[in-house]
């Protein structure tokens, strides 16, 4: 029983990270209807920003850790908006396939630039927050795991407030619902889309740092697998649906951790895709999504 709870905790903290990345995918999909393949590499850049910023602050302090987290989030928000401005905005209105391929190009560019700038060898992520282990009734709660869950929950609540309680959030929802009507109502779509990219990228950066806290070896290709899985999480919850992305991330992280702890552990990487296929076949709109029929 205690082993089950321990695995559940590990799963939830992995799932919280997936959820943060998935939110970025789902928001961009909501406003632009395409898969931002480069998102997983923004996640990687976030972890590396954390690595370099982490050298500037004293290790293992609260304010230092939070400052690094905020710095990396701002850095990635700028990166995300730059990518959108240079690579995606010129293609506004072009067929989805072209945008998708551009996104793959941006993803490859970030990975290969990362390999040139950061080097291909893995690096050890610094200790950002104070580390303590709590033993509660046979369970071992690592402080990093608790931080991951706490930060993820705080960010998700903040996101929910931004999307539902602010003017720009209302504009985001308007653009997601109907871009043309939003323009007619006086919404500046370009600003909203740039803001969405910034917001999503900041969450990816937070995800990157939290991931690196739990798996402290970072390299330029670290984003590929978590990125794909987070996208699966976004589809699982219903793409374009913000609570769905959070739910999908938590489910996926938990399932993956349990599979990893079982005799099928070598199939861990395949399980996410198996879930994806089953979901798309039986409930293409995801768990919380609404199914829409294509009209001529």
């Amino acid at each position: 029983m205690s082993e089950f709870l321990q695995q559940l905790l590990n799963g939830l903290s992995l799932g919280a990270i997936y959820a943060l990345i998935a939110l970025g995918y789902t928001m961009v999909y909501g406003v632009l209807r395409f898969i931002n393949f480069a998102h997983s590499d923004v996640f990687m850049v976030g972890a590396f920003l954390g690595y370099y910023l982490g050298k500037l602050v004293p290790a293992g302090t609260w304010w230092g850790g939070l400052a690094v987290l905020a710095g990396a989030m701002i850095g990635c928000a700028v990166l995300g908006m730059t990518i959108e401005r240079l690579a995606y905005r010129p293609l506004r209105g072009a067929p989805t396939l072209n945008v998708l391929i551009t996104a793959i190009g941006v993803s490859l560019l970030l990975e290969s630039t990362g390999q040139v700038v950061f080097g291909a060898a893995p690096r050890n992520f610094p200790v950002l927050f104070p580390v303590r282990n709590f033993a509660v009734g046979g369970l071992i709660l690592g402080s990093n795991q608790l931080i991951v869950i706490a930060v993820a929950v705080v960010l998700m609540i903040a996101l929910q407030l931004v999307v539902y309680r602010t003017k720009i959030g209302t504009a985001m929802r308007a653009v997601a619902l109907n871009p043309k009507a939003a323009v007619l109502m006086g919404v500046n779509n370009d600003v909203v889309i740039a803001f969405t990219f910034g917001l999503g990228s900041a969450l990816a950066a937070a995800g990157g740092i939290l991931y690196a806290l739990n798996y402290p070896s970072i390299d330029p290709l670290m984003g590929v697998m978590p990125g794909l899985k987070a996208f699966v999480a976004a589809i699982l919850g219903g793409i374009g649906n913000i609570p769905g992305a959070a739910l999908g991330g938590l489910i996926l992280g938990t399932v993956e951790t349990f599979v990893g702890g079982s005799q099928w552990s070598t199939y861990k990487d395949a399980i996410a895709f198996a879930i994806l296929i089953v979901i798309l076949l039986f409930r293409p709109a995801g768990l919380l999504g609404r199914f829409t029929v294509e009209k001529v």
Partner: protein, 313 residues
């Protein structure tokens, strides 16, 4: 005889002729030519799915790996029994290799059917993702099958791939795809691509067309995989990951979707590019991805697509 058949015959004879003089060429150039040929097969077969039929598959490397593994298993396991200890005559080896390639192709086509039937109900980026997912599942499965070498892959595959086999299959692939698309039946692929709803409205079974395109594409990917395995002599599951699929997709896009000549030129160009860029190896992938983005922004219809007036999908 109709023109395409004559062209095919001429190409096969030319491949056979080149084989007879293969010893006179620099082995380096022959190796590069083999690599080019394998990539041409992959790109032309993917073009049927992504270009002519307008579906977006990101799992071509998965089908390639099925063909590579199965044909390697045939020559490694059945070969010694059928040919005896002395390795058999050249003719026997050739027949075994052909059988192995066809077995690999058929297995890949079967995998294509398995993947295609459920996933082709989806469209656009969802389909891309499901094919990607299937490609990864195939890879992880191969990593876990001890019988096929697990994560270490298969080693000591006999070096059966010669320039004749590669060029012959390039000719056959181009012939089959071109004739198929230009046949009465094959117009349905283009109709599915141009407007699926309209095609369905005039009575075409678009799902069936998509599945047929998928299965034929997978078959030739399997053949290419078999040629690749018997050329490199060792195959590992990681050699057929998502990056390889993207590489093939890029060739199709660069050549202009649904333009066989352009796709062949793009496959040649992109296989030669790394050879030319060897001196700046570190920056190769940076340059490559940068070119991909610039290309999509500047020439979304494909660099080598010179037919104006027909928009990209």
């Amino acid at each position: 005889m109709p023109k395409p058949h004559l062209a095919l015959l001429a190409a096969l004879l030319a491949a056979y002729g080149l084989q007879q003089y293969a010893d006179h060429f620099d082995p380096y150039y022959l190796d590069v030519l083999t690599g080019v040929g394998i990539n041409v097969i992959l790109a032309v077969s993917l073009n049927l799915v992504n270009g002519y039929t307008g579906q977006f598959s990101l799992g071509h490397a998965g089908f390639m790996s099925v063909g590579a593994y199965l044909s390697a298993a045939v020559t490694l396991l059945l070969g010694p029994r059928l040919l005896g200890d002395d390795g058999g005559t050249a003719f026997q080896q050739g027949a075994l290799f052909l059988a192995a390639l066809l077995a690999g192709g058929l297995a890949a086509a079967g995998a294509g059917l398995l993947v295609g039937v459920p996933s082709l109900r989806l469209r656009g980026d969802y389909l891309a993702l499901v094919t990607l997912g299937f490609g990864e599942i195939i890879r992880v499965t191969f990593q876990n099958v001890e019988f096929l070498g697990g994560a270490l892959g298969l080693n000591g595959i006999p070096p059966y791939t010669t320039i004749f086999w590669v060029l012959a299959f390039v000719a056959i692939t181009v012939f089959v795809i071109t004739c198929l698309v230009h046949s009465t039946y094959g117009r349905g692929f283009l109709a599915t691509h141009d407007d699926e709803i309209a095609a369905a409205a005039v009575g075409l079974n678009t799902t069936r067309y998509k599945i047929v395109a998928f299965v034929i594409g997978a078959f030739f990917a399997g053949i290419a995989g078999g040629l690749y395995g018997h050329f490199k002599l060792t195959i590992t599951p990681t050699g057929f990951d998502f990056t390889k699929s993207i590489e093939i997709v890029v060739m199709v896009i660069l050549g202009g979707m649904g333009n066989t000549v352009g796709v062949i030129l793009a496959a040649i160009l992109l296989t030669l590019l790394p050879e030319v860029l060897r001196p700046v190896a570190e920056y190769r992938t940076v340059l490559y991805s940068f070119l991909l983005i610039v290309l999509m922004l500047a020439r979304p219809q494909g660099l080598l697509n010179f037919r104006f007036g027909r928009a990209a999908p």
